[in-house]
Symmetry: D2
Subunit: 358 residues, 4 copies
């Protein structure tokens, strides 16, 4: 069993890490860290509001009982050498400071965007660009680290990248236009999305999101050669919005392919898509992509939990009427499972299997 | 004062007609008609549930007091010659039968889609394609009618067509890709959208909607010459979804223009857009298009009521990164004001002014 | 294995029966029946909308694969003697006609209210009034049936009755005042609650609900002697409302007890409450009542699924400041698990164990 | 015209004050104050997010144009002698410090609870306990102030107190039991209610709310004699919950009256209720209480805006079946109009008319 630390353990993403690592066959949570305010208290006490007695646990799954008594450390004082891997659930500002410190000695898998766009940092999605893991060696060389930093993609990128991959492989892609209807959980809890603002409403702007999705998609689907990633050449444009949904991002995707193809071809390559490198991993879905032929699917409430939140569900695959070789479809992807902590655990599993961790 | 009948008066669209015609300076509601079940009762009684006493009025505005005592007629027995114009709020199936019967003698303005796609039927949006009204004369000639049928566009088409019009005029359009997030009121009440289905959810399919929007947009922005409409040549593709919003359709629009232009150019032609033919009409908005520079706008709850629900609000105008000469923006349009009954009353006003009615 | 028929199998309650009976250790679904419209088709086909291809399955759990091919019978032609027990999920109007026909030969467990208030019909909640089952023998005698009808309580009654039981036993009850905030699923789907009506809203009236809860609570907690139920003497008053929640009824309960008691006493008798007759049944919760000390609990979204939806969760037990010996608390109970199909299956299990069925 | 300052002007309650005072016939907004962070900037700039350009205005009504250029002062440095009345929209902690400082020279009308429960402080509802205003003179004497502090009641108290008043006058009251379903706006915006927490949910606890409502109701309906308020003797018990509604508190009220009475009597005394002292005030509703006989009313979305949000709407008046001389009803009251800023402006109007201000 490898030992893991979860940094940012009291926040919602940190809690999701604990759920994702609960009863994990390869990894054991050995340390929890958070801000100074929580430090020195048992995890359970750190989550309990002193004034009201409320227990501030935000996952649908119960808090793993054995983790409640673990003492919370001050993240800036945590010794990274005591663990084999660090899951980082902290904000980007802090990540810029803390993650390099940890990475000097220990692998860091992060949900923060702080390092995503650096040349020597891959954005791994197991099953999509597993080969990019080799860039971690370049990173270690360049920075003189024993560990490394490997960040998750943005939660809106991941479902689109997963579903574009088999299209890209089979037919090539010229351009992608996407409009997202994103769940509130993507905004976290501080301040998060107010009920007053989202009730009976759509919020048409998520700061910085569109640029992230556009850039990350090209990087993730890029080739890897001579020690670096060569971003994919196709064009990407998106509009990202927030809707009154708790979990599960919905995306309307329009794709112009290089080679002409029919909706049935797209359905087939998506359904058949699978990466043998990922097949055996404990958190891997059986099917990366679930294609549903009911025209009223996918729906976030009904499909976000497909394969325990690790599959992307696709539906409404049909001809587009405006793009050359145009295809359009809808997808739903679980933004806080595959799109965050559980996806990061899957990355850890891939890196353990391939010898980068442990 | 012209005399109007509202057919389908007990349903939600019929009620919206009564609100739109309340205290109208040119038009007086002289007759109400509905199905046999309501016939013979005063309007107030027809809306009152006998078992529970509930008053089935669905508009935010109160029911106009003077209309409550009007007796409801059986629509299939109503004499159309007693009124100068008929507002039809019935389902398409019934519209196919009843509207031609009425149109033999009397102008019919309809929210049903039954006749929208026929060659001699315009889809009028005052301020956008007022000139298409001339097709009504061809219709009368071809069908031997004294009246005519002129249907409203689909509620999802209208906001997009209004905002594309100044772009089309100034820069030309090659293609349009649009994803809608539509309000529940667009689905009506029988059966409408169940709370169970839309809570915490997005419904990714609205039967027939996408085809309507694609076809209608080309027809509305088409030219009119030699007695017929020549649909615009640009390509249109959309994905239409339903979100948990009561009123106000939100649309993410991506446009490829013929001539290159900047977001500021688009904002300018939209803001300046105005049709002098429409300016004086009682229901016309002062501005057809409201451009809001706050990046978090438009939002359906905040912007649907702009100019009493008759303006389309646009925001987030920016460069598109996937289309040639690409521009993208968001819009909010009130689907049951400009997009239905009140929009139909505006059509009536245009046709009265231009001598087609009265 | 006993053979069961589910009547009303295509509706939402019928679907919930199939989920509740899926992989049941004692009962096997041998027949499905519905209206004439569905009759003659495989269950899967009966649920598939012919026009759109939509699959009309409404439970969160997937449709049990082995039931999809079962042919649906016409309920009015179904032979009740082919099964050992019938679960009836039909509307009250039909129940009045069909259930006696079935009961002539076969036990019927029903979610309809049609027979709830008849003298020789118990309203069973296993663990609360198991002894009332003996009334079924009187019913058989009186009506000359080999089978019987035993209806579930109203979904709003059940959580309150379960939590009042230990209070009643330990301290006696003078009066109960309750306000419910009920989930939309309680209204079913035809027509159900429209999203337009419940968004940003509370609906303060549910036809007939308050009278049902008041009457049923007294009957359920009544004594059984000399072949009949003697309704409990305490007074009950409620106000029933609908809120924008999918599943899980929330109730604010105010109780005046006979003997003085403290909140801690109430918590203790609730936590300790258990009926050994129910303990071994396959669908029985481990704890009938879960007491949560977090002051922000119970919440319907967080607590409705406690013990697979079969427990009632209680919180905020505190002194009441207006009633004599007043105690107040909140409860959440799953209206479509314990409160409907799964609760009916638990009744079946009790009756099997006690020899009334099979 | 009297000059007013609004303190806490950038927050949501402060904004509501500006809306309530917009075009007021007697009062002109002469000064705006907020925290140090906003001080020195024009009001418009203080509301504009520097990073994103978002305009942080939260009312449905537009921001009054003429107030946008008013410079915002630092509240702790504001000179109270420059204005005739101060509307305070600050948090209780700050109110404890700032309001006495202001009150030394100037009348303060506050939405904070800081001083509500002090002996020499009335909780005024014009039309209900206008006579309590005389206590302000005792307060001035006792504290040596030229001004005074008079706080609004809690937004949940006000609708109940208004509707209990005519019952109390006509029939006497023994006890009141109430369950509230409160709107999100009551929780403000920092942090307010998260969409993640309230979607598909009810939150059964609002810290401190129940105690406030219980105490304030007795104080408001208390008698005033010999220079002090004598709280009403009847008992009050409530359960306060939060539901997914933007504006408008819904309350289920159960009352035990001294004298027996029928629902029709209650409807009559409520409908007839009116205080001539209030009739002419600019913000006063024509009817304090609107009784709606539709059994599905009141609903917060439909009834919160009755009489511009200044009336309380009552429905479902019926016999209670558990209390002696029991009556039960539902009410909806606008928590941020009558229940906050606009209610405070009504208090100002009463105090101006009676010579306490100006």
């Amino acid at each position: 069993m490898l030992k893991a630390a979860v940094v940012g353990a009291t926040g919602i993403v940190g809690q999701q890490f604990l759920v994702a690592l609960h009863n994990h066959p390869w990894i054991k949570v050995a340390a929890l860290a958070a801000s100074e305010r929580s430090a020195g208290r048992a995890y359970k006490d750190a989550l309990t509001d002193e004034k009201t007695g409320a227990f501030r646990w935000f996952c649908d799954e119960p808090a793993p009982a054995q983790m409640l008594s673990i003492p919370v450390q001050n993240a800036i004082e945590m010794d990274p050498t005591k663990v084999d891997v660090i899951f980082s659930a902290i904000e980007s500002d802090q990540a810029k400071i803390l993650e390099p410190k940890f990475a000097a000695t220990t692998p860091v898998i992060s949900t923060a965007s702080a390092f995503r766009y650096e040349k020597d940092v891959p954005i791994l999605i197991p099953g999509v660009n597993s080969a990019h893991a080799a860039l971690l060696k370049e990173q270690q060389k360049a920075r003189g680290w024993k560990g490394f930093i490997t960040p998750d993609p943005n939660c809106t990128t991941i479902g689109m990248a997963v579903t574009l991959k088999p299209i890209f492989d089979a037919f090539g892609i010229r351009s992608v236009i996407m409009t997202s209807m994103q769940a509130m959980s993507g905004a976290g809890r501080s301040p998060g999305v107010l009920g007053l603002d989202i009730l009976d409403n759509v919020i048409p702007y998520i700061v910085g999101e569109e640029e992230k999705v556009q850039k990350e998609t090209q990087k993730i689907l890029g080739g890897f050669s001579r020690g670096s990633i060569h971003p994919a050449k196709f064009l990407v444009s998106c509009t990202c919005t927030r809707v009154n949904v708790r979990e599960g991002h919905t995306e309307a995707v329009f794709v112009s392919t290089e080679k002409s193809c029919e909706p049935a071809d797209i359905a087939r390559v998506m359904q058949d898509y699978n990466d043998p490198k990922v097949a055996g991993l404990p958190s891997a879905p059986k099917r990366m992509i679930v294609v549903n032929s009911d025209p009223f699917r996918p729906q976030p409430r009904l499909d976000r939990d497909a394969e325990n939140g690790m599959a992307t569900t696709v539906g409404r695959i049909r001809k587009d009427t405006a793009l050359e070789n145009g295809i359009k479809y809808m997808l739903v992807s679980h933004n806080t499972k595959m799109g965050a902590a559980k996806g990061a655990v899957l990355v850890a599993e891939l890196l353990i299997k391939d010898g980068y961790i442990g």
